[in-house]
Symmetry: C2
Subunit: 134 residues, 2 copies
Amino acid sequence: MDTSEAWRRVHNSPSGVLGTIDKEHGVHLVPVVYSVVGDSGVLIAVDSKPKRSRRLRRLANIEADPRVTLLVDRYTDDWSRLWWVRLEGRASVRPSVDAAVERAHRERYPQLDGHALGPWIDIAIERVSGWSAS
Amino acid sequence: MDTSEAWRRVHNSPSGVLGTIDKEHGVHLVPVVYSVVGDSGVLIAVDSKPKRSRRLRRLANIEADPRVTLLVDRYTDDWSRLWWVRLEGRASVRPSVDAAVERAHRERYPQLDGHALGPWIDIAIERVSGWSAS
């Protein structure tokens, strides 16, 4: 799968799995929703729940080691239609993003209506790989 | 979500994402199918393709660091029905498994008909966590 097709599938899919490195426990995985930004950026918003947001493992892990991976795939019982895209990059945590970017993210996910968002995980993708059964 | 409910959902779901640690690149993620074995075991079969099987990153990673995580989730646009289960454990790579276990795995995935299977990733799960929106 070429890079532009991989990015197209990521953009057109609603969710993925984010992997970060937990020095103590190994790999930390969590489902995420995201927006593709520019040519090689991915943004993930954390729901702002004050009691927990600073303690989220994914954020602590990124501060300790910025290397992250996002896997986007579609499972179906028809294995001739399986595919996945793997994005590897370096993440940073930002308290907020440009208003236009947040607005586009909220348009992508109307389910976020009424949720405060932030901090944001900002990933600069460095490696794109993908596979498709057909 | 209690542990027995988490295991029930893992068993009833067809696929997940396996995370292993790649010392050089960070987190390696790949979609997998699996069988639950006994109280706290998960088995993942690698399709036997001689040219590549010994070079698969997931296998090399496990040999270097046995800590793995399997995430099973179901995405839906109705976020009140989201859930995920995270299984963390230690993996080993085995050339084969008991015939009864392989048979059960093949019954679970009839799509494997005609595929030779092995090696197998055998995970002893040590931590189970789960979340459900409803």
